[in-house]
């Protein structure tokens, strides 16, 4: 197929976008539209499925098939679409509340089943649409409308949750990093199975600056580690910081200090099935570590939707029952004259 059959504009619906000015969702929308235009699917083969929340309005702003579901159910709605028609490129739009609170059960089971759905998990660490209550990813102690004295709940780390549920794919990006997001989305589309992509997204109204320490222009190069498969883990303004494995733990080192060279750094292997390093990577937190971005884990495996088709084909090849009439007349029957 010819490259770039579409432009990002082909995926813009006429519907007025109703996110707050400055919302991180705008950048993600642009990144998705760009990624879709660059992927090799026909426009009619995209299905964008969402739950409830600010980000879940997303399907209305796309010009392909879309379904805005109910709260917490994006994962099952998307799973149903994909299993029913595995030819589709299915994208699930969900937030930290939708995916990890009300829909937490569906989330872990979707990951466990490995249905071939690309999940964009918009993590703004707050409930935006209901105007500012804490979410399952809000920082411990965060003051919100429902935690006026600070939350006393430990937040979920979506990466840890994904890996813990047996996930085969986890990536992390930032709303404003459109270029990197486009590449991650395209890569996720090629991965067969559930691709969880956590997007650190800024809610300008109710949780402005939640990720600012990570995204701050001055400090971001020191605070972000973008991993690439097969490349050593280097970061920092001077490109002189790196990650090494020190015993059981990751450790930040400086190249050139204490005899450390690039060769001592961990080389990223997203295809390693053992989740130990991937888990350690997604758990890295400021200020001791940078926050990891990019495709952290991508293990090729069979997807649920693929296996169900294979199972059907195999059963059909061996069963004498080809249609309902065969079924009706199979087994024990008798005739009354």
């Amino acid at each position: 197929m010819a490259e770039n059959k579409y432009t990002a504009k082909d995926f813009k619906s006429g519907q007025e976008v109703r996110w707050c000015p400055g919302c991180g969702d705008f950048s993600v929308l642009a990144a998705v539209q760009k990624a879709f235009s660059e992927l090799n699917h026909e426009k009619e083969d995209y299905a964008v499925i969402s739950g409830i929340g600010c980000s879940s309005r997303f399907p209305y702003y796309m010009n392909n098939y879309g379904f805005h579901g109910i709260h917490g159910r994006a994962a099952v709605l998307a799973s149903g679409v994909k299993v029913a028609n595995p030819k589709l490129s299915v994208w699930q739009i969900t937030g930290d509340g939708d995916a990890l609170a009300i829909g937490g059960n569906h989330f872990i089971h979707e990951v466990r089943r490995n249905v071939d759905v690309n999940v964009l998990l918009f993590n703004n660490q707050i409930y935006g649409l209901t105007k500012g209550q804490y979410s399952p990813t809000s920082k411990f102690g965060q003051v919100t409308k429902t935690s006026p004295y600070g939350t006393i709940e430990t937040p979920f780390n979506p990466g840890q949750l994904t890996i813990g549920a047996g996930g085969k794919f986890f990536a992390r990006t930032i709303d404003v990093n459109v270029k990197e997001s486009v590449e991650i989305f395209k890569f996720a589309d090629g991965h067969k199975g559930t691709s969880i992509i956590e997007i650190l997204q800024n809610c300008v109204i109710f949780n402005n600056g939640a990720h600012s320490k990570i995204t701050d222009k001055e400090e971001r190069e020191n605070n972000q580690l973008w991993v690439e498969h097969g490349k050593p883990m280097i970061f920092g303004k001077e490109k002189n910081k790196g990650i090494v494995l020190d015993g059981y733990k990751l450790k930040v080192v400086t190249i050139g200090e204490n005899g450390i060279t690039e060769k001592d750094l961990l080389v990223h292997d997203m295809t390693e099935e053992d989740p130990t390093i991937h888990n350690a990577l997604v758990n890295m937190k400021l200020p001791d570590f940078p926050v990891v971005f990019g495709v952290i884990r991508a293990i090729p495996d069979k997807s649920y939707d693929q296996m169900i088709v294979e199972q059907i084909e195999s059963v059909q090849a061996n069963s004498p029952v080809k249609c309902m009439d065969d079924l009706f007349n199979s087994g024990s029957t008798w005739v009354v004259e």
Binding site: Q15, F67, H68, I70, V81, A84, N85, M324, L327
Partner: protein, 608 residues
């Protein structure tokens, strides 16, 4: 099996066994006793052409059939009770026993050799056990037991086992032994030891029947249109097959999203095993996942369904609303059980009716259909599917534990005879497609992902009429609410008129719905036989109600609504037709009605 108490005014009994078993004599004795008791009787002896046909073979079976009761004009087409003195007797008569009839078989003769000679394979025997009330009686050994104190030779002892069988039958119908005892005294006048022996065996049979509390099993009313090919089917399997058949007829892939729950689980199990038909089953992590995957599958162009019981239906409520507002085809099967909460998971009840009709937020109309026998679960699952697909709506199918687990013979249908199902798939000829454009029945078209040029968005937010964009316009919401309501009301044109059984100028109309059909029909039939002016209307289409419902209601002086809840259908009728008075007969014991209780209650209402 939908069972009813045997009608003692009209019974067909058949003795069958080897030619040497004394079948004709036994039959004659029963005939004489019956006649002497003042019953009308007609008999039909049938025996092999050979005087001594090979023992134990089907060809060697001798039979004697008699029909007794009131207004007897024939020996009866099929028997209620078969006394089979060997396996061949079952094989020879397999097509002349009424569905669900009783077979009293001499289990001592069921040796490997005899079974082989008769061709009674384990599969056939299994079928017999499923379809009939098989009472396995050790007739030979107990006959020997009766005569253990005597000096009679083995051959003579065994020859008297026909008296044991006759004793059972007498006890079964409460007949006295004395006429046969008198006959024995005359016949063996010169051999008093045989008189005593045969009397002992006869008495032994009667005592045995009494001890095992043998009661005639029940038969179902299938008097007309009996010819055809049959198989045994349970309500849950029939439901699953109805859904699958609809998918095949509509030429759509089938998807079932579900979560195991008693007593609905077999539907999921059956579909999971039907990968040979391409059916996809998805065992979700919970009830909500079950229905929402199905809604996703419906959006993607599959014919989708979900199966559950009351507690699961409660969990699915919000998602049913999503299917209502997105106007996607979906069948929700609720196999009702005793509630509330976990309630009585394995028991039957009809108490989810209100939940089915209105257990959702917002104005959320959903057609509700109820099956009324295990085998017609197939028909109503098919019809529910047809309505869902052709009217682009979720449809609720109500069955219950009694139907789901009950089995009965099902006359096999041919797919070519099933009603056509026409999906509302958007037509390629349509110049302009908008997701909420509607036809004359207010039904929108179905455009599914993968179809070029029809890309659109749907969802749980209120939609602008025609265009389907998100709309908060007050007047539009009211219009869309009306349209969704009218769309469901229009379905009335696609459902049959309500029928009424029973006496034409009846004083009392007995109303039931769903699984109580068999019991109410029996009660009403018996009341009519007793001279009572009763009619019976049994509803399968609950919402919308059949068009002629009011025409029926207005004809009767008294209406009694019988249901296994505290009066939900009665209240539903009160809401719809408040001008009539509805009496109620309710039962909430987790059990089906008892015919006697129904009769008593209807009688009281007639008199009151």
């Amino acid at each position: 099996m939908s069972k009813q108490i045997i009608d003692l005014d009209n019974v067909v009994v058949k003795f069958a066994g080897d030619s040497g078993d004394g079948i004709q004599l036994t039959g004659t004795q029963l005939t004489n006793t019956t006649a002497l008791l003042g019953e009308e009787v007609a008999t039909f002896p049938d025996y092999p052409a050979e005087i001594r046909a090979p023992q134990g073979t089907v060809g060697g079976v001798s039979g004697f059939q008699l029909h007794f009761g009131k207004n007897i004009f024939t020996p009866g087409d099929k028997c209620d009770v078969l006394i089979a003195l060997n396996p061949a007797a079952i094989m020879a008569n397999i097509n002349s026993i009424k569905w669900g009839g009783t077979i009293i078989a001499d289990i001592d003769t069921f040796t490997e050799a005899n079974l082989a000679k008769a061709g009674l394979t384990p599969e056939i025997l299994q079928g017999v056990k499923q379809n009939y009330n098989l009472i396995e009686s050790p007739i030979s050994s107990m006959t020997k037991e009766c005569l253990i104190e005597t000096d009679l030779d083995v051959k003579t002892v065994i020859k008297s086992k026909n008296m044991f069988a006759l004793g059972i039958v007498y006890k079964l119908f409460g007949f006295p032994l004395k006429y046969t005892e008198e006959f024995l005294e005359k016949k063996f006048k010169k051999k008093p030891e045989l008189v005593e022996a045969n009397k002992m065996v006869l008495q032994g049979g009667a005592s045995y029947a009494s001890a095992i509390q043998a009661i005639p099993s029940f038969r179902i009313c299938t008097d007309s249109n009996l010819k055809g090919k049959y198989r045994n089917i349970s309500g849950n399997v029939a439901t699953a097959w109805g859904l699958l058949a609809a998918a095949e007829k509509a030429n759509l892939p089938f998807f079932l999203g579900s979560y195991p729950i008693t007593p609905a689980t077999e539907i999921l199990q059956e579909i999971a095993g039907r990968k040979d038909l391409g059916a996809k089953s998805f065992q979700a992590e919970d009830e909500i996942g079950g229905i929402v995957t199905s809604i996703g599958a419906a959006f993607a162009g599959n014919f989708a369904a979900t199966s559950t019981s009351g507690p699961g239906l409660a969990l699915k409520s919000e998602a049913i609303g999503l299917a209502v507002i997105t106007e996607l085809p979906l069948v929700i099967v609720d196999v009702q059980r005793g509630g509330p909460s976990t309630g009585l998971p394995t028991k039957t009840e009809q108490s989810d009716l209100f939940q089915a009709l209105s257990g959702r937020n917002g104005e959320s109309p959903v057609p509700v259909i109820a099956a009324s026998s295990p085998s017609n679960c197939f028909d109503y699952a098919y019809k529910a599917s047809k309505i869902a697909i052709e009217h682009m709506t979720p449809v609720l199918l109500l069955t219950d534990s009694y139907l789901a687990n009950g089995t009965e013979p099902w006359k096999i249908v041919a797919m070519k005879d099933m009603d056509v199902i026409t999906p509302k798939t958007v037509s390629r000829e349509t110049e302009e497609y908008m997701p909420y454009m509607r036809d004359e029945n207010f039904v929108r078209s179905w455009a599914v992902p993968g179809m070029k040029g029809y890309e659109h968005r749907i969802g749980g937010l209120e939609k602008m009429d025609v265009t389907g964009t998100v709309s908060y316009v007050p007047a539009n919401h009211e219009r869309m609410t009306m349209l969704r309501d009218s769309k469901i009301k229009k379905i009335v044109n696609d459902i049959p008129e309500q029928t009424v059984e029973g006496v034409k100028d009846a004083d009392v109309l007995v109303i039931g719905w769903g699984s109580t059909y068999g019991h109410i029909t029996t009660a009403v039939t018996e009341l009519i036989a007793e001279g009572k002016k009763v009619a019976h209307a049994h509803f399968n289409y609950i919402y919308p109600l059949p068009q002629n419902t009011e025409d029926i209601l207005k004809k009767y002086k008294k209406i009694v609504v019988c249901e296994l809840n505290l009066g939900q259908f009665a209240n539903y009728l009160r809401m719809n037709f408040p001008q009539y008075e509805y009496r109620q007969f309710n039962k909430v014991m987790g059990l089906p009605f008892a015919v006697a209780d129904l009769k008593e209650s209807i009688n009281e209402i007639m008199e009151g």
